[in-house]
Every structure is written in C-alpha cells, then in structure tokens.
Symmetry: C2
Subunit: 424 residues, 2 copies
Amino acid sequence: MIEPKVLKGFRDSLPSQEIVRQNLISKIQNIFRSFGFVPIDTPCLEYSEVLLGKGGGETDKQMFRFQDNGNRDVALRFDLTVPLARFVSANYAQLKFPFKRYHIGKVWRGEKPQKGRYREFLQCDFDIIGADNSQSDFEILLLIHTCLKSMNIGSFKVLVSHRGLLNSYLNINGIHGKLDEVLRAIDKLNKIGLENVISILRDEGLSDSDIEAINTFISLPKDDFGKTLNLLSDILGQEPEEIIRLRELYSMMIECGIQDDFVLDTSITRGLDYYTGIVYETLLEKMPQIGSICSGGRYNNLTGLYHRDCLPGVGSCIGLDRLIAALEETGSEIVRNSRYADILILKSPSFTQNPAATVLREAGLMVDCYCGDKGAGVQYAYAEANNIPYVVSNYENGLFTVKEIATRNVYENLSLEELVDKVK
Amino acid sequence: MIEPKVLKGFRDSLPSQEIVRQNLISKIQNIFRSFGFVPIDTPCLEYSEVLLGKGGGETDKQMFRFQDNGNRDVALRFDLTVPLARFVSANYAQLKFPFKRYHIGKVWRGEKPQKGRYREFLQCDFDIIGADNSQSDFEILLLIHTCLKSMNIGSFKVLVSHRGLLNSYLNINGIHGKLDEVLRAIDKLNKIGLENVISILRDEGLSDSDIEAINTFISLPKDDFGKTLNLLSDILGQEPEEIIRLRELYSMMIECGIQDDFVLDTSITRGLDYYTGIVYETLLEKMPQIGSICSGGRYNNLTGLYHRDCLPGVGSCIGLDRLIAALEETGSEIVRNSRYADILILKSPSFTQNPAATVLREAGLMVDCYCGDKGAGVQYAYAEANNIPYVVSNYENGLFTVKEIATRNVYENLSLEELVDKVK
C-alpha cells in the first residue's frame, strides 16, 4: 500500500473548511462584481524568465522551478502580481483601461513551513490598472471597506498613508539617502516596537536628531483623519501632491459617510520599494494580533518589464486565511454555516426519497438523501456529523414528518411551506 | 524587455471568458450543494508515488514531474480521481460515508496541444463514495439531469448502460476472454463507425458469429428505456443483478418523471477497465458532434491502493469547456451575460460618482465608475467595449440621467426604482 500523505507545507481542505472558504469567496466575488471588477485567470505554470522578472528577491529562491518534458525552464507562480503584469502586457490590445480585475488563485512558495504558513495557498488580489488619480485610489479603499462591512466582523480601521509624505518630510528635515532602510525599519514598528525601530535606525547610521525627527513623524496623533492631515500640511509647510491626493480621498470618504473607519497613520509604509503612492493596511479593533487582513498600495510601474507602456496601478490583497481566522473568532454567520445540507431525507421502506428531495430542492433548500445501507441510528449520526439540522423521516400526501437534531423535537405532517419556514 | 508569452498548451482567460466560466461554476456549485454534495480541496502538487499509483498508463508520461528543492519526487496532479482516493484514505476517520463530494480544480497533462486540448485545464468531478446501490447511482444521474435542465441547453439524452450486461451477454454466447478489448472497441463506435469496430474485433481474433452476436447486442433498439430493459431481460433469459439494478433506476426515473431523457444504450462502455457497474454519457440532441458533456460510472475499488478498505463509488465529470462551447451555440443566457457591469457612472464635474454608485449597488446592481482621465467619448466607448448596457451621466437630488448604449436613448430624472427596473 502507498502511504496517502501530502507534501510538507501542503494540506487537504476538508468539507467543513472548504464550505466556509467557498462561502467567503462567493461573498467577496459578488462584491467585486458589484464594483465592476472582473475576473481573469492565468496559468499556474509559466516560463521562469517571465516570473523572475528582474529577480534577485527572496521569492526567487522559494520558487518551485524545474525543466519540463520539453526542456523549458518553468516555474509555479509565487504571487498574482507578476502574472497580472504579464497578462496585461500580453493582452494589452484587448483590454480597456482603466482595467479593474480580481484574481483568486493558488500560489506556491517553498518557504520553511510554520504555523499558518503554507507552501501552497490562496491569494485574492484586486487592482485597477491604467489610472493614477484619487478616484481609483478611493475605489480600492471603498471596496475594502464594503467587503469588511459585509462580514459583520466588528469594528475595523483602514490605516492609510502615502509614500510621498515621508519623502517630503525627510527632505525638509535634511535627511537624505537611506529612504528604503527607513521605510523598512518603520514598517516593523507594530511587530518589534519603537525601541527596536530606533535601534535599527541607529545601526543604519542615522543621527540622534534625525531619529528624533522620524519618531515625531510616525508618532503624529491618529484619532481624526482630517486633523492629522492639517497637522501634516502645517509640518510640511506647503501642499505637496501627496497632501492634495489625501485631501481628495478624505472628502470622498466624507461623501460616503465612512471617514470614521479610516486612519491617517504616518507609520504605515508597507516595506516594499514597489509602492509609490498611497499605502494601507487593515486592522480589526478587537483582533489586532491577527495582523493586517487587507493591504496594498499604489505602484507606478506594473508592466515596464514586459511592455513599452509603464502602466500605473493601485491594488490590494485580501488575506483569506487570516480573514477566516478572524471570522472564526467572531463566530460569524459565514463560518458557523458549515452545514453540509439543510435537511437529510432518511432511507425508509415507507416512502421514496427522490420525489420528496426534488420538491424541497425546488423550494430552495439544500437536501441530502441518505444513500447508504445502515439503519436509522447511523442515519441520524450521519446528519449530526455533517451539521445537517433537520431529518425527514416520512413524506406522504405532500406532508413531511421532520425531526430537529438539536432539540430532538419531532414535527408531524408539515406542509412544504411550514417545513421551509422552519428550516430557513 | 521580457516577452510576455505563456507556455505552449497554456492560456490566459480574459474577463469576457472568465465571467462566463465563473457564472457557470457558480450555477453548478449551487446545484451540487442543493444535493448535499460538499466541496473539498487537495494540493495541486503531490508525491509522484502517490499520483502514479499502480502506474503504467499514458498519463504517467504526460505528468509534470520534477524534483523539488528538498529533492522530493513530486508532480502536478493529472486528474481529480487519484487525489480523491488519496484524500479519502488520508482523512478516512473524519469522513462520514456515504461521502458526497465535488471538486472543481485545475489539472495538468503534458499532451501534444491541439484544438480544444490544453496542458492545463479545469476539471469538475462529483462522486459518492462508500455506497453501492441504486439510490447512489440514481443521485448521480439525477444530478446530471438537474444541471443540464437548469441551463436551457435544449434537449439532451443521458445514455446509460451497465458493464455487467455485456459480461452476461458474452458469457451466454460462449464468448470468453478479450472482454477489455471488446469494451474498448465498442467504446469507439460513435467515433469510427460500426464497420471499423467490426474490423478491430476481427483483428482481435473474434469469429464472425461472435462479431454478429456483439453487433446484435450493441444495436438493440434504444427508443424506450423500459422496452430495451425487457428485451435485455429476454435475451439474457434471467434477471441478473445488472438488470435488477437498471430496473430500480428506471422506476426512480419514473417517480421523478424524467425517464424520457434517459436511454438504455448497450453500446456505451466507457473504455476504461476501471468501471464495474453503470456507465453513462450525455449527448445534446442538436450538438452530438460536441461529444459527451458529462460522463462517468460506478467503480468498486477507489481506495485500495492507499487504504485497507476498498471503498466503492459512483461519479461523474462535467466537461466545462465542452459545456461552454455548447452554451455558446445555443446562445444561452449564461454565455450572453458577460457584461462587466450593469451600469457605468461617468466621471463628470457636475456630480460625484461614489454616492450614486453606492445607492445603486445597495439596490443590487453591478456598478462601475469610470476612473480614468478621458472625456465623454472615450467613456462611452469603454462602456460599449465592456458590455455595460447603461451609462449614468448625471445624479442630482436622488434622480439619475441615463443613456442606454444599444439604442442611444437618454432617460432623464429616473428615480432609483425606475432605473433598477430598467436595468434588470
């Protein structure tokens, strides 16, 4: 016999988990579509050259890369951003810009497996390509807000900043060079705390006064988006383009009445060099330890590696695994509803299952018919194990006899309407 | 610059294609769930040993197989059946049987690419594991029937047979051995015609009288399931278990009033040795050339390679690409509705887009806001190219001014209700 094992860092998804994941994906997809975002798909396997791009990053070493049977150097994609850049470049003539796409798909990274980290996992990206203005920035922020609001996940804050703010601020304070190092150090603030960030900056050779200035900047009050904006405007002593952009975004938030869920947080930098405009993270107020549920930002060169046009974009990525963990904590309806079916129809010599099932399905219920060869006891246990709350034990003259598993109550001679009401 | 090319046999899915595919998947998933079938997921990458199983088939040579960075011999899955067997064996204790699962996922085969054949494609499998009786057989048949009925795809026939019929028939006629060869020859009937099947049988060394007997068997009249069943019962001169099973299935069809869409077709064999009970294919009456949209059968040993229990099963596979091709032919609603959104809100200095969009989204519409920097002409072209049928050019005091793209008609001062009515 062959041992039925999976590779280290890979995993099966059991029905109780996969039902939740599919429910969540379906909900998110509907919201994406309601915003005019459309799905695309790209191959999981691509030329290594295409996926590596400029290369040199940590991800290169983590790629599942091999020679295929035709001796092509190929690899499994490690994110959905590089394939998006390749896709937009390859299909440029067939797309209309601004192009709003979402993509939910698996990616592979040969990282050292650890709790919550897998070598195969699902990403969920959404981006707007080919626009650089406040409307496109705002649509991504509004989409994040709408997704999270729809999930009854409790209070959350979208922490927003703009890469240009720190640039302008450092310039004004005469701190030149080391921008990337400063960005990356600040990005660690939530993980390692202020003391450690300061010690990194000191190791990078920044002076005490520079560090003090940076500390002032990232410690600006965050309680009111508008006030922080005015404070920044005062500090920068002018209205640079990043302040103008943030003011436009703030007034759009007010138009939609959602400004209280946004924080202008100057300590948000999103480590990657990649971003050039707004950047954002999303924290749940009661579960900050879960980390950012949804992060992203604006970048000004998506396609430069593959196409003569360097299209700008803005986008985000929902961490589905983190989101599911959070939904489990809050006992959300999406997670609780992992029932295999609404109702089980028993196998019994006294009636036939399929006509009863058809009637109930046509009324919109999820209906399982027990199709094994065991007796009633096993059949009830099957319903219980599969989170099926009701069991039909008889169907005659259009009337159902039903048992509710949780209470053991039996209801006799229910009409279709009565049964549907009870189950829904 | 790097050429943004995809590998031979691989493909991008553009939004107009992917919207259709996602709509179809969503529809099918809802039907699966309404039958108590639950989703699972398994890794795309597995140990080669696990995927190869007994090995030796054509698929072995077609596998994308390589050494990963930890020198493990791994491969991309080439179907969803082997992973199901591994999954059921690995998670045996956590599953309740009969276990009804569906799985929609990509598989990879290094076949020679040709029209309609790709090296990466989506499979859609549904099976019942752990039962061998007419109820489980029938549920798969009813599920196929329900899926196809829901799609307004025109008339179709589910062609059903049972592997045991041919066995019993050959036995009675004293034809022993060569069963697999006869099965595989008959399986080619629709593709190569009767003459060629006969010539294969002759090459296999069957006598003229044997061939004549086989010809009689596969040419039995097919116009009425019940009559063919009686005919077979007469020919076999007894009621072997396969006749009993088919009689039970036939009476279940009658209970559900769907018997006219089923044909007892003794020429259906489904070439693979694998099957042991009923087998079936599904043909569209107006498009038989597309081939079977949904095929499968009963097998009596799913898990024997990985587990001490040899669980029986019955299942099927929907050919999504073929189904989409058929839906395109019939001009089905599922295919026609590839609109990116229901409505586009123009960018205009006279009103703000986001509050208007929010109101329409809350009313259930898919609403895109133009977020580029071009003028009205380009914005209308964007709507047209993205199959968006309506454009909002003004929103004031809760009233919308709307242009219908197809007719160029303009409607002024529509209330929310009026606009929703028009669009839906």
